[in-house]
Subunit: 478 residues, 2 copies
């Protein structure tokens, strides 16, 4: 049902932001018997549905499917040509629901959650004002699920040049002739991969030494090698000093710290994210506008008294991934429901129903590059920094029979990081074609804390890529 | 090193059969400090390397890769034509090592295991005679790893018609114009899939009601639907009454129990397997030639005194799959080594180092059909027969965002079977494109006995097909 037209309304839970975390949290608390309303100023469905996961994967799936087909006997000669870019873009439009949120609104209605369109701002404890008018009061909780936005660095001329962010890069209606991508993280790598495959000349500028710096180093190396083969010009150790676009729609000149100039049609900035908390009225409850929200394992904001404020999804900076935001929403939704019923909440009970323990121990991520890079849990370096006594086991993924059968000249690598004290996995990384679905086996092993001894009984089916598990275990046994 | 030329030799362990189970067992006991010899009458590497897993998957990978490419925007129009059959067959030849075992022999040498070529037969306890001459004596164990062969039913005219078995179906050098496949299990389904895609007219004759009868019923239904769309003529509830081939190389006439006649160029018999134990000298130690070997969880033959005889791989009839044979080889190799050192062997210690517990609890299998069908552990029917109190959760795999992104019009289904008393998974089944690598997540969950409550913390990366896990858990919580 639609929200009533009164200027004041009271709900058990008021949710700011209708991305996947907000939607899932509202659904959970409603399923737990609480009333819930979501306030959204843009499209219901959020960044993921229109300007991130969905459109980006719709752009990338043809790239990996073609890459695989090109390595399969009897098929490879048919797929030597370029992708049909207009077809890919049209298909992407479908997966972004043509930037209309009717379907998501219907879903909200179907689960019994009210929707208020507008900008919601806190106005003291448990009180939200929408567009300066309507007042929503929360009996039990306000959940901030407003996500993040791309940061545009203060480089001279950059803002005026109207750069692409992840939003424009996932929703552009035509392939730019020349694209400069700034940033070697997931967004930069994925968008360089997609637009290069769609026909753009792509230059990828990275400040550091390599790509995908949050993964094991070999991930960035293998992806960089493949991008170079696809014709992407990769420049590491490079910063942008200035950007100039003389005329709207005209070419953009990117001036590097070396003084070198690159002329392109578009520039994509993918250097970081900032929380969308700057215009939320945080100052009315003693928090700093524009700051990430510091939450405990139930996603309750630590510094706010009364257990009524939650931060779920990107805003809490625990793990900026849609699936982790949804996970947090399930946990926080359960915690809010429990607290409303005065049931004890054990947010310090690791792996319990009210603790988002996976945010620190078992975050999975698949980069839909060519080849894919997939990881879960801690890298070797992270595990060491955390003080674990570890052993690192690597294996050449191309040496697995299932991989060789999957694609000619398969290149890839797998790593597992073993906690020597408990003999469980702390993390795993796979890079190669077709590893996107293989990752979840490692996620179950890490989150499940399945002992190495038991993993020997988890037999991989022959001949799949998954048989790398056997090789990793054999190498560990040594 | 090569076996010495003496006519008598003593080893700690004598292995009959150099397929993957024999190779792995010999490797394991040698790594444990025991001497080992393998006796092989055909090619080192066994059925899997030359007439099963490797060539069959080399024939099938192009089929699934093309099927996927045909469902991807921007690529689909390039792959409307047929597969290049000669290219696929040539590639298959490479993966069957051109039916030469030099590489496998080098591997045996590299791990320090001797090889004796010839037919090995038992001649009383711990004694093997090769080709009626050379005698090999086993100080500790003889391991029978001779595998299985296709059964040719006693249908009038069938043997004389020289039917294909799995061997000919995986090694044929040309595409038959018309192929009749008898049997709806894995071999029948995979070979009907492959040869149809390579251009043959295929009729698939099944005695029962459906395909893949050992999996959940929906697996066979989905695969049957897809085979029909590919143009395979499926006839269920049908038996072959007689077969006639008038001239060698000429057409074969298949007469059904209905009296109907089907004329084809080749007939593939894929109706079952028999143990290769008929010519092993089993009678010299009181066992029945041609019988499956009845073994305990360490793969020791129960009825033979003295703990010296093992049956590993297909011969023990526990699970006729290469990966399970290799798994048993690791377990049996550890048990043989332990017994040789007079270390206690705890074959009744479930999930321990000397018990092949996964053979009963967590056997994985991927059928490389189009779409793939993958399962692990118990089906719902099996779990009920075993007396478990279960709940069955199904989900439409095509309704997962990651599946829709993976392939247009994705069709598939997932099922998990939950043990309500322990709240762990007893089994899982996935049918759909790209599920072959997804299976291992379920294998880890089943073999690891990871509680449902903990599986909530194993977050699937968005948007992958693996997100079906979340949907299954939500439905279970339901």
């Amino acid at each position: 049902m639609a929200a009533s037209e009164t200027t004041e309304a009271e709900y058990d839970v008021v949710v700011l932001g209708a991305g996947p975390p907000g939607e899932n949290l509202a659904d959970r608390v409603h399923a737990g018997g609480l009333s819930a309303v979501i306030v959204e100023s843009e499209l219901v469905g959020g960044e993921c549905s229109y300007w991130a996961c969905m459109p980006s994967k719709a752009l990338l799936r043809p790239v990996t499917a073609r890459s695989e087909a090109r390595r399969v006997a009897g098929l490879k000669d048919a797929v030597t040509g370029p992708l049909d870019a207009p077809a890919v873009l049209a298909h992407r439009d479908d997966f972004a629901s043509h930037w209309k949120d009717d379907g998501q609104v219907r879903w909200l209605e179907s689960v019994g959650v009210d929707l208020v369109r507008g900008v919601g701002r806190l106005d003291g404890p448990r009180r939200v004002v929408v567009d300066g008018g309507r007042v929503l009061t929360a009996r039990h909780a306000v959940a901030v699920c407003t996500g993040s936005r791309a940061v545009i660095p203060g480089i001279p001329g950059l803002a005026e040049a109207k750069p692409w962010t992840s939003r424009e890069a996932t929703s552009a209606q035509a392939v730019p002739g020349r694209l400069v991508v700034v940033g070697g993280g997931v967004v930069g790598v994925e968008m360089a991969t997609a637009w290069r495959a769609l026909g753009a000349s792509v230059t990828l500028l990275v400040r550091g030494e390599g790509l995908l710096p949050r993964m094991e180093p070999f991930a960035g190396l293998l992806v960089a090698e493949s991008l170079a083969e696809a014709g992407v010009l990769l420049r590491t150790g490079t910063e942008v000093r200035e950007v100039r676009r003389e005329a709207p729609g005209g070419p953009v000149t990117v001036i590097l710290d070396s003084g070198e100039e690159i002329v392109a049609d578009e520039i994509l900035i993918a250097t970081g994210r900032a929380p969308r908390t700057d215009d939320l009225g945080l100052e009315t409850i003693g928090l700093e506008p524009g700051s990430w929200l510091d939450v405990d394992d139930s996603c309750r904001v630590r510094s706010v008294a009364g257990d009524w404020l939650y931060g779920v999804g990107d805003v809490n900076h625990r793990a900026l991934l849609t699936h982790q935001g949804k996970y947090q929403a399930r946990i926080a939704g359960a915690a809010i429901t429990a607290r409303a019923r005065q049931v004890p909440v054990l947010e310090s009970d690791r792996w319990g129903a009210h603790a988002a323990t996976a945010d620190t121990e078992a975050v999975p991520q698949v980069v839909f590059s060519d080849p894919e890079a997939a990881s879960v849990g801690r890298t070797a370096a992270e595990a060491e920094r955390a003080g674990h006594r570890i052993r690192v086991i690597d294996h050449d993924l191309g040496a697995v029979a299932g991989s060789a059968l999957y694609a000619d000249g398969y290149r890839g690598r797998a790593r597992m990081v073993v906690d020597l004290d408990r003999e469980v996995l702390l993390g795993a990384t796979f890079v190669g074609l077709g590893v996107g679905e293989l990752l979840h086996s490692a996620t179950v092993a890490v989150a499940g804390e399945v002992p190495i001894e038991r993993l020997w009984h988890a037999v991989p089916s022959y001949p799949t890529i998954s048989e790398v598990w056997l090789r990793l275990l054999e190498a560990y046994r040594g």
